[in-house]
Amino acid sequence: MSELLDHLLATPLLAIALTLAAYFTGDRLFRLVGAPSWCPPILVAALLLAGVLALAGIDYADYREGAGWLMLLLGPATVALGLPLYQQMGRIRALWRPLLICLPVASGMAALYAVAIAWLLGASPEVLASLAPKSVTAPIAIGITEQLGGSVALMMGGLLLTGVAAIGFVDLGSRWLGIRDERLLGLALGINGHALGTVRAFEIGPTAGAFASLGMSLTGILTALLLPLAWRLPGLVG
């Protein structure tokens, strides 16, 4: 049995098939239970996948090596977000001034709140470095975490939870505050919930999706530029 498994894991095919199967099963289950917005299909899919790997006795490192082929597509997928960005350029341009103020403040807050809370609750420096880029899209966040000396696995888990939480809280917040403007919802989802929030924003509508792409990419760029600098400040003082 384990020999067969080793044989199948020699190519990336099994890892890719498992990921796809978990994704579509998660999506199916999600729809079966009435598509609750507080529990996105990706959370179900990730739990399923982790369960299958654990049950089948597949080492995560082996799985990751194969599924890395799938993650390679994150590059072209990020580039693809340039398309909705272009399509909504007119609306984005009309708002350039408020966006110029909102985006740096909001994306800075996304990192600051998390680091401050974790620090107050006594997290180790490694954990702090893994949580700081929690609202940044995966391909950029991996680079930031490595630079700060955090754990990529913890950061990715944090990314999932942040995405899920952001989707839920934007839903809640928009109802409380009575916000229906797709541009606002999209921005809030993209800035706080990276790719997962952006996917959710496209479900709301194309305008929300484009503003989420904008929020996600600018949060990524700003955080990548500023976080490593901000990280050195406490070191200078101490």
């Binding site: 993650m71 994150l74 590059g75 997928a77 580039v79 693809a80 960005l85 709140y113 995966a138 950029i140």
Partner: protein
């Protein structure tokens, strides 16, 4: 074939972004550089080819699936993080709650007001 031609375009911009990031040392990922280059190029051209749409849309739709392999890793390091759970969960959930509300509040103040006059 349109999908493959479009995919080649996306790869082209990704590689171009990679070259740019590597040469200039900008702390941005190749994907984001490629995305901005693509946006810029589409603005210059003023239209989107059907090839690019055919490749971009499906990729955007499965964005969430593409980060799954990395995300699942956290379930396998759970025991190394014992004792820090309160800090981690508090930071992720509490931090996201605060930042979502800050964002919505700030945006509504700045953008919500501009709305009636502009559109």
């Amino acid at each position: 074939m349109a999908v493959m031609r479009g995919f080649l375009w996306l790869l082209g911009f990704l590689l171009l972004g990679d070259v740019l990031v590597t040469l200039t040392g900008l702390p941005v990922s190749a994907g984001v550089a490629g995305m901005l280059l693509l946006t810029f190029w589409l603005m210059l051209r003023g239209t989107v080819s059907r090839d690019i749409t055919a490749a971009a849309q499906p990729l955007i739709n499965v964005l969430a699936m593409l980060i799954m392999p990395g995300v699942v890793g956290v379930f396998f390091i759970l025991d190394t993080l014992s004792g820090q759970w309160a800090a981690i969960l508090g930071a992720l959930v509490g931090g996201t709650l605060l930042s979502v509300f800050t964002t919505l509040w700030l945006m509504r103040r700045l953008i919500g007001r501009e709305e009636p006059g502009r559109e």
